[in-house]
């Protein structure tokens, strides 16, 4: 399964996305495509989406932990990795707001 959440997609890409995905809400795309097809779609998105698109992609995989998260452009939260597990860094209450980009 691949879920793509975007801030703003180029219209051509958004149209093309609907070949594989359903769009239950604006700019949220859900699809049951398998790994190899998902890899192609992800590659397509990296190729055709500018940074402003703000895309986060969630893909389910068969090995633990069962998911991978990728992104294009700036998002609110930073990702981190502990012992190979992808986790989200939350801001500490009271800490200064930082511009965080995750890759």
């Amino acid at each position: 399964m691949l879920v793509v959440v975007a801030n703003k997609l180029p219209p051509a890409v958004r149209g093309r996305m609907k070949l594989w995905f359903v769009e239950p809400r604006a700019n949220i795309f859900v699809s049951g495509i398998k790994d190899s097809v998902a890899a192609t779609v992800i590659e397509y998105l990296y190729k055709h989406c500018p940074e402003e698109s703000g895309i986060v992609m969630f893909q389910s995989i068969s090995k633990p932990p069962g998911y991978t998260i990728r992104s294009i452009g700036a998002t609110d939260k930073q990702m981190t990795e502990i012992s190979g597990l992808q986790l989200v860094v939350e801001k500490l209450v009271g800490a200064e707001k930082q511009d965080i980009v995750f890759s």
């Binding site: 633990p64 932990p65 069962g66 981190t80 190979g84 597990l85 986790l87 860094v89 939350e90 500490l92």
Partner: protein, 290 residues
């Protein structure tokens, strides 16, 4: 106080099986605490990271970590065990028990262990994994252990030759990790991590790490029994391969990364859950068994 709390109970049905969990994460220099009923990790630079503990098999807590009472309770409720780990090897294991856990599997394990005949049968099943082509009929436990000793020494020698690494034998002095050679250091560290993962798998499936079938007398005999099933590839092969890669300088991050990749690559938790159930005979009563 407690009356006014919004409390969502963690039920057994809502927890993943052992085989579906992420094997372990290692944390050091920071603090584990609770906020909004979930476990959060605050590292030494004040980054806050939420941990999905119900999907983790073990938290390995390294030096400089502190944990709150409530965080231990929540981890326990989510069936995630906690091991306290020293700088380079495991020092202490802890596991929580759910109030709802049942002891059916433990009882079965005890029944197998107290009967000499049944216990030898389980031990034989373990040795069959390692000597698939040899007839173990009529062999005593002592004889099989002797065979295993020879086999392990031969494996060390074979790996040393395979990877072109010098080998003077296994040496392990507790607390003096740095005195041994790099291969031995990696062996000590990876063995310890393997024990930690298996210990928590054994606990979460409702068995006891203290009742072994081959080993006895040591603190975690059942864990050592199980670890022997996976050590050849996970620890021994890895240690010699890494010794060559690290060119004589021990790097714990590299060791941990390579070990984790092998654990996930071979689906250790899936294998262990199946092997434990098979060894103990039949379907397991708790979650984690198939």
């Amino acid at each position: 106080m407690a009356k006014n709390r919004l409390f969502i109970k963690v039920t057994r049905e809502s927890l993943p099986q052992v085989k579906d969990k992420y094997p372990f994460i290692y944390l050091e220099r920071g603090r584990l605490e609770i906020d909004d009923s979930s476990v959060k990790w605050i590292d030494s630079e004040c980054h806050v990271v939420r941990l999905p503990v119900a999907t983790l098999n073990t938290l390995l807590l390294g030096p400089g970590t502190s944990i709150t009472h409530e965080a231990v309770k929540t981890a326990v409720a989510a069936n995630c065990s906690i091991c306290w780990v020293g700088e380079d090897s495991l020092l202490f294991y802890a596991a929580g028990f759910l109030p709802t856990a049942d002891t059916r599997n433990l009882k079965r394990q005890m029944e197998l262990a107290v009967s000499k005949e049944k216990s030898l049968k389980v031990a034989k099943k373990m040795f069959v994994h390692r000597f698939p082509d040899t007839d173990l009929k009529g062999k005593t436990l002592k004889e099989m252990m002797g065979m295993e000793g020879h086999r392990v020494r031969a494996i060390y020698q074979k790996m040393a030759e395979k990877y072109g690494v010098g080998w003077k034998g296994r040496s392990y002095v507790p607390g003096k990790m740095t005195l041994s050679d790099v291969t031995n250091q990696i062996l000590t560290a990876t063995n310890a991590a393997l024990y930690g993962i298996l210990c928590s798998a054994v606990h979460s499936m409702g068995y006891s790490p203290h009742i072994g079938f081959v080993h006895s007398g040591s603190p975690l005999p059942f864990v050592y029994d199980l670890a022997d099933l996976y050590k050849e590839y996970l620890c021994i092969d890895l240690s010699f391969a890494l010794t060559r890669e690290m060119a004589g300088v021990y790097n714990k991050h590299l060791v941990s990364k390579a070990f984790r990749e092998r654990v996930i690559g071979m689906d250790l938790l899936v294998k262990a859950a199946k092997d434990i159930s098979d060894l103990m005979g039949g379907k397991s009563a708790c979650r984690g068994g198939q």
